[in-house]
Subunit: 425 residues, 2 copies
Amino acid sequence: MNISIIAIGDELLIGQVIDTNSGDIARRINPLGWKVNDVQVVADDADEIKRAIDRAFETSDIVITTGGLGPTKDDITKTTLCQYFGGEMVENPDVLENVKQVIADRGLVLNDLTARQAIVPSSCNVIQNIVGTAPIMWWERNGKVLVSMPGVPFETREMLDAAVLPMLIEKFPTNTAIEHRTLMVVGYSESLLAMKIADWEESLPPFLHLAYLPKPGLVRLRIDGQHQDKALLISEINHYHNHLVKMLGDNVLFDDDVPVEEILLLELKAHGLTLSTAESCTGGNIAHLLTSVPGSSAVFNGGVVAYSNDVKRNILGVSAQTLEECGAVSREVVEQMVIGACQAMKSDCAIATSGIAGPSGGSDKKPVGTVCIAVKTPGGIISMSHHFPGNRQRVIVRASMTALILAIEQIRALPKHQISSTVEE
Amino acid sequence: MNISIIAIGDELLIGQVIDTNSGDIARRINPLGWKVNDVQVVADDADEIKRAIDRAFETSDIVITTGGLGPTKDDITKTTLCQYFGGEMVENPDVLENVKQVIADRGLVLNDLTARQAIVPSSCNVIQNIVGTAPIMWWERNGKVLVSMPGVPFETREMLDAAVLPMLIEKFPTNTAIEHRTLMVVGYSESLLAMKIADWEESLPPFLHLAYLPKPGLVRLRIDGQHQDKALLISEINHYHNHLVKMLGDNVLFDDDVPVEEILLLELKAHGLTLSTAESCTGGNIAHLLTSVPGSSAVFNGGVVAYSNDVKRNILGVSAQTLEECGAVSREVVEQMVIGACQAMKSDCAIATSGIAGPSGGSDKKPVGTVCIAVKTPGGIISMSHHFPGNRQRVIVRASMTALILAIEQIRALPKHQISSTVEE
C-alpha cells in the first residue's frame, strides 16, 4: 500500500514550526508493511492543497493530510476539501456534542468560534477526535482514501493509534511482509564503519537494504527487508543481522533503535544501581533526557546543575583549591563532582560534565568545545577530556551523548572487571 | 522569487529522522522576500528524485535539495543529479583538497570511502563545504537554479549562511518587500483570542495576513505583509501591529518571536537578579532550556533536579514533616523548594516544580498532570497548582513553559508592586 502525506500550513513554509507530524505518521505506517511514497508540505492555499492532493492520488492509495483545521480564518483545509470532494458545509450534531465534551474536559466553556469546528463537509465520514476539537474527516474515491487530520501533533498521534490506522488496516488488508533490524554502533565514523562492513553489505540479497543513520556519538545501521514470503524474509534478515552483530562485537551499543538514555536506565535497573548527575556545561540536559523516560525515578535520584563555582563547591563539595589550580573545566574537577554527586544525592553512580559550550569562554589551551566528563560506578571513577566541534547546541548534545555512552560502558563492564584508575582518552 | 525544497532520504519517510533542514532553509529564505512554495520529501530513489525535481521546476525558480550526499551506497543524490543534468562523474582536485582539510581539522585521517566525496558531476559548479565532506553542487538551467546541499543539519545551516544564500541573492535581485511582526500572547486560548481580535482582523488590508501559531502555554500572532512599496508596507504593518499591542495589553508576553527562556533571562539581566531552579517533575528541562541560551551563566547560578524526596530534604531543606503531611506534589513543598534553592545556590530568584508527569503515579486527588509551581523573587513567593492534559512529554513541556512565564510576570511586576502573599490559580 502506498501512502502520501500532505502537511498543510504557512507556518511550516516560513520555518516557524517544524513538521513533526509526517515523521510520526511514517513511524506508524512503516511496521504495517506499507510505504510512505512522499511528503508534500504546502501553504494554507486552496489551489496548492488541491494540486498536492491530485499529485498524491497519482501514486498513492492513501492520502493523509495534517493541519489547517483550526477554527480561525487562516485555516482553510476543511472548506478546500469540501470543494475538492463536493457536498456542502453543514453543522454535524455529533461533532458538536464531541467538541462540547472535549472543551468541558479541559475545564473550559464552549465559545462561538470553537463551536464552528462542528461545521463539516456533508460528503465526508467524520471520525470523532476524542483529544481535540478538530474533527477528523475520511473520504473515499475510486477505491482510494483521503484522511484529514489535525495539525496539533499529539492529537494526530493519539487519533492515528485510536482510530485512523485500525480503520485503514481494515480497509486495505496487506500481504507483503516488511522487517527492520537496527543496530546502534559506537566507536566508528560513518565511513570507517562502511569500509569495515563493505563485504557483508555487498553480499546482501536484493530484498535486503542497508541504511546508515548517524546520530551524535554513534551510527545506527538499519537493515530493511521486504518480501512476499514472511518466513523467508525473517530467516534471511536474522541471518544477516546476526552476522553483523558478531562482526561488530563490543562496538554494538544496543541491538535495537532506542534512545541512549533509555539504555542507561535499563543497565542501571539490571545492576540494581541508582544514578545522579552533576552537570555544568550540559546544563541539565542529561537529567532532562533521563527523566523524560517513564519510570526513570526508580533509578535516578536527582541532579545538580552546577553552573556557578559556588554551586560546585557548596553542593558538590569540589575543593576551591582544585577549581583555582586546575580550572572548572578539568578532569580533576569532574572527578570531584561525581564523588560529590554520589554523596549529596545518595546514589551508587554519577555522571559529571564541565566544559565550554561557547560561543564565548574559550582560550588557547581550552578552546570552545572542550568538555571534561567523569563517570563513577561501584567499580571506580573514569574521566576523559574531549573536544567537540560545532556550536553551543551541538556541543551540549554531543557531550550529553558521550557521557551517557561512557556510563553505559562502565556499568556493563562491572561484572567482568572493576575499574579503579582514571583513563585518558 | 519562488523556491521549492526537496528533502531526500529513506530515513525521513519511515520517520526515523525528522526533516529539520527544510524549516532551517525556510526560516532563512523568508526575510529575503522570497516564498517557499512547497517542500517535497522523497526516498533515496533516482526516479522519485527526478520526478520531484521536474515538479519543483514547474513552479519555482530555485530548487534546493538536501540529503543523500554521504559516501555510503544508500546515498544516490549525486549520481542522480548527474543523470538529470548530464555530464560525467569525475574527481575534482579542489574538492579532494577541501575534504582532506575538513578531515584533518577533525583530527582524523582520510580513508578511501570518504575520498570518494571528491567525485562530482562534471556539469555542476562546486561550492566547497567548509564544515563537512559532502560538496555542495550548483546547476543552472533556463535561468533557474538547483542547489544540492548536505543532509547533516548544521552543515546545511552553516553553508546556507556562508555561501549559498549570498550567491542566490546575487543571482536573483529582488524588489518585493516582505515584513513580519510576531506577538507572543498569554492568557487566551486560540479561539478566545480570535474572537477578541475579530474586528481588528476583519479590518486588515488585503496585503496583510494574520496567522495563529499556538505553542505550549501561549499563542503567537504573526502578521505577514508583502508589497512592492516598502515604505507603505512598513507604515501599514506598524500601524496594525501597534493597535494589536494596545488591545492586548499585559497579555502580550513579548513583542517578537523569542524563546520564553530567553525572555526570562533578559528580564533577570534588566533587573540585575540571579536565578536558580529546583525541579522535580520537569526533571532538568527548565535548567536545560535556560542554559541553551548563550550567556545564561551571567544570571543562572544553577539548579537541582530533586527527583527523590532525599534530595528535596538534604539539598533543598524541604521539611520531612511537610513532605509527609502535604505530599511531594503540593504548594507547600514547592514553596519550600524555592526558598531552599535560593539559599543553596545563593540566588535572588528561584523556580520550583513538583508534579506527576505520568504515565503512572496519579491518584484520584492528584491525577497525572497535576503540577505545583512556585516562583520566588525579592518581591515574595507565589505558588500555584495546575492540571495539564496529555502524556509525560506534554506535561513536562507545559509545566516548564508555565513556570517560565510565571517567573517573567513576577519579575516584571517587581518595580510596580511587591508580592508577598501566595495566590491560588
